[in-house]
Symmetry: C2
Subunit: 351 residues, 2 copies
């Protein structure tokens, strides 16, 4: 029988302690980790219910639920401008927001590697808590598993978000029509370049930081314009190129982009040059693409520019009729080229 | 620029193929994996929407949402009676059901190790699809990430479930009262012993199979009795001992169990003897514990026994007043001992 120890329990050593297998065992050590680390930072009335799941109020009257999930495996765990903690909140909040829904709740599952430093885990959970709090979307339920040393890579975080979609609103990748405008909310490629520069220990003249951010506030401002939106997407893995190819295929249309109109920071462009990457293929974590009726594009862009996360918003192209569903680019030199999906991945584990 | 290849695409080699990093890149290879493996088996109208999340109808009128998440890291991936695929459905369906809610939707995130055999992944996804279909709870959205060889262990699956809780129903670990009956739905320890026997290559006289199963049908029958239920829990990691200690602490009560009343299969008891385990500490994946008003216990047990997953249901003890919040056991020999939480974990990666 297990040793009985109901007296003083030594607090977690958040400075020098490490994850061990007992932290995933469902016993006292796991309860302590949850209490002293996860609940301490992420605590809210729902998480505090202490049951197998969270019971949550829902706005009534014709609402539909939106559900989205993401596994976060970014390497390194900490990168300029962010870390896996805030990224795991932003990524999932954004997926829900891209559906046009108001994100309400997050669930978070942690897969921890034996030996992972508790101090790093605490930094990650703090960052996650700050991001959730800033976004106004609480983590309401969670799970923790521990695997043996060498069977994971520090920590993986699976986050799932639910939100509510108001009646009548229909957005989707299959709704783009020839003539629609293609809009981006700001400069592209920042996240991928920031992670890659950290991974490869590259330094550039100017600092490159991830754009990781929660976009639901920007989306709310966009909705408020009444612009006829067809589709919202955040161009993460595979970048703008993959996202637009996906939309083109789903809608059965082509897309023509204007290179000159696409905002790319000079340092990101230079880094991409150096790394042999096309900024269109590089992941973003705080940018969105919007397809909307061309007549509404000017006021939509104006509203986006009035939001801190949309100051560089721009129309970067248009939807065209094309039986091949190609995404094309009018280059700065007046030529045209096809912007394909990536055949292979130059940037694994970017999110 | 990436190679353009819009013609014939070679189908996934589900017999001899292996996961590589392009399967997680957000590009064409990932789209193919999703289409030919995940969507093929798990496909439904919601998953087929093809956006960043799923839009889902919700029953109206005062309903509350229940949300629960679980990371599945069981080793080995295949074990007698189940595998990580069906387990990831059952585990999350059960967590939602234990809240008294009707499970509606699942989200599934896959973390895949480079080099993992596609044939094994296909078996797992097929098992997941069969479990989801049998439970009537579709996988409506998902995510796939790939990490380098040696940075994961084949596959981890994070599943999140949402369900709807009807108005007025209140269940929770803090609601147990002295005098209440403690009920178990069947024999304990099967899952943990099945996984351990496979892991250690042990063979017993009789086969030991995991009890992995979705319990929401049994819960619905229990609800229909009108019995005054306080709390439902599935005793997974840490087993019956951890679960009852958790409830005792949350409710500020003690619990007295009767060893003779606790169903344990002879082969499981023998295996536990051999492995130095107490069946009370061993994980279950198709059993539940119910705390209910003692006066309602007989008809609740009767209703449970009429369900295929509750034929061995039994009252195994009662809630008592105890300032120490001890869980105790009246042994078969007439003695008493304290049933503590596990201090360390004899069975890591059991689910």
């Amino acid at each position: 029988m297990a040793e009985i120890n109901r007296g003083y329990v030594r607090p977690l050593d958040l400075k020098n302690g490490r994850i061990d297998l007992t932290h995933g065992s469902g016993g006292r050590a796991m309860a302590q980790l949850v209490r002293e680390l996860f609940a301490r930072h992420l605590g809210n009335e729902y998480l505090g219910q202490g049951n197998d799941g969270a019971v949550l109020p829902l706005p009534p009257a014709g609402a539909r639920l939106v559900m989205s999930t993401d596994c976060h495996v970014v390497a390194p765990l900490f990168f300029p401008g962010g870390d896996i903690g805030c990224l795991s909140v932003h990524g999932t909040v954004n997926d829900v927001a891209m559906m046009g829904a108001t994100p309400l709740y997050l669930a978070a599952g942690f897969i921890l590697e034996e030996g992972f430093a508790l101090a790093e885990l605490a930094r990650i959970v703090e960052s996650m808590a700050a991001a959730a709090s800033a976004a106004g979307v609480p983590v309401v339920t969670g799970d923790t598993k521990v695997v043996e040393r060498g069977k994971a890579d520090g920590v993986f975080i699976a986050t799932t978000g639910v939100g509510v979609l108001r009646e009548g609103l229909e957005l989707g990748g299959a709704l783009a029509r020839p003539g629609d405008a293609v809009i981006v909310s700001g400069s592209i490629g920042d996240h991928g370049v920031a992670v890659m520069s950290r991974r490869e220990n590259l330094t550039f003249d100017a600092p490159v930081e991830s754009d990781t951010a929660a976009l639901h506030g920007l989306v709310a401002e966009m909705m408020a314009t009444g612009a006829r939106l067809r589709c919202l997407r955040d161009p993460t893995r595979g970048g703008v190129a993959a996202t637009l190819n996906e939309i083109a295929a789903q809608s059965g249309v082509g897309i023509m982009l204007r290179e000159k109109a696409i905002p790319v920071k000079p340092v990101v462009a230079a880094a991409c040059e150096l790394l042999g990457l096309d900024p269109l293929d590089v992941a973003n974590e705080g940018k969105l693409l919007a397809i909307c009726d061309a007549a509404d594009a000017p006021r939509l862009v104006e509203a986006m520019r009035a939001h801190p996360l949309g100051v560089q918003a721009a129309v970067i192209g248009e939807v065209i009729a094309d039986d091949h569903h190609f995404v094309q680019l009018e280059t700065a030199f007046g030529g045209r080229r096809i912007v394909d999906w990536l055949a292979s991945d130059p940037l694994p584990r970017i999110c």
